[in-house]
């Protein structure tokens, strides 16, 4: 595969973060504190340090095709330790944002579809409802994982820890109008 170098990519990612606090990831000194602190680094295609270098070098396709930012657990260990004051976690969110907006992500990842299912449940009901989320991931599991998950769910249900009816907030119409003021999509009754 030929890699397309897009130096615009650093700028694009930068503008996703610029509007917030400003996040000086182009100032990364490649010390590796983030990768050393990251509890998931071993499972990522590229470590956080590598991803920053790749964004800065404009390796757009390689970055977007990696699992790295979808494997971020949001634990912020890297962010509190970065000597350059980069919020690596926020950078990972920005890459997720970019990836979802452009519908470009590594095939087979559960992260994007789970996130989308989760968001949909909340904008429609105001609350999370675990059982409705399951189809967004469970069919991608290997057989053994699938059975363990079903076993877990059954035990949770027996212990009275699984909701059977989807919860919803009372002032749902107000809530939906509130969301439409932020994201102006969707007709309202």
């Amino acid at each position: 595969m030929t890699e397309t170098y897009t130096f615009n990519f650093m700028k694009e990612v930068s503008s996703l973060l610029h509007a917030a606090d400003g996040n000086p990831f182009p100032m990364c000194v490649q010390c590796g504190s983030c990768s050393g602190s990251c509890p998931v680094a071993a499972y990522m295609d590229y470590t956080p340090r590598q991803i920053i270098a790749m964004v800065n070098a404009g390796l757009k396709d390689q970055v977007l095709n990696s699992n790295t930012f979808w494997y971020c657990a949001s634990c912020y260990q890297c962010s509190v330790r970065c000597p350059q004051g980069i919020s690596i976690t926020e950078l990972m969110y920005a890459l997720q944002r970019y990836s979802i907006w452009k519908s470009r992500y590594q095939e087979g990842l559960i992260g994007p579809s789970f996130s989308e299912a989760f968001a949909k449940t909340i904008v429609n009901a105001g609350r999370t409802f675990e059982p409705i989320l399951a189809p967004s991931y469970i069919f991608r599991f290997k057989l053994r994982e699938f059975f363990l998950e079903v076993q877990n769910a059954t035990e949770l249900m027996l212990k009275g820890r699984l909701p059977l009816l989807p919860p919803r907030i009372k002032r749902l119409d107000n809530f939906k109008r509130m969301i439409r003021k932020i994201i102006p999509i969707g007709g309202l009754a």
Partner: protein, 138 residues
Amino acid sequence: MAKRILIIDDDPDFVAGIKSILDTAGFEVDVAYDPKTGQKELQSQTYDLLLLDIMMGRGAEGVMIARKLRKDAKLREMPVLIITGMREQIAFLFPGEPIHPRFVEVDELVEKPVEPTMLIEKVNALIQAAEVRKALTQ
């Protein structure tokens, strides 16, 4: 004198295309790739029209900018044309639903991709309408 247009859009590929169309049609075009820089440009320069994207930065920041302009005495009269791909970008949230007009305070909203001739027509029409409005109030 050439009319001046500001584009606030975070997609460099889209901007490159649209800027070349507008350049060719004789407009003077500035570009801001993020909402913050865009707002600075609007405060320091005078434009005849703003081409605005919606999904930028932290989320739907275009809506925030449009609302702010409508409350700004100096910029209130400047025509704003939104060109957005937001239904593509976050369609999963509200599948098949249209953009809700009540919540976007702009002159005109067009969805990407944009056809060049139509773009030029809309831009010209909006600038002319703004000039007529201005002449009437003076």
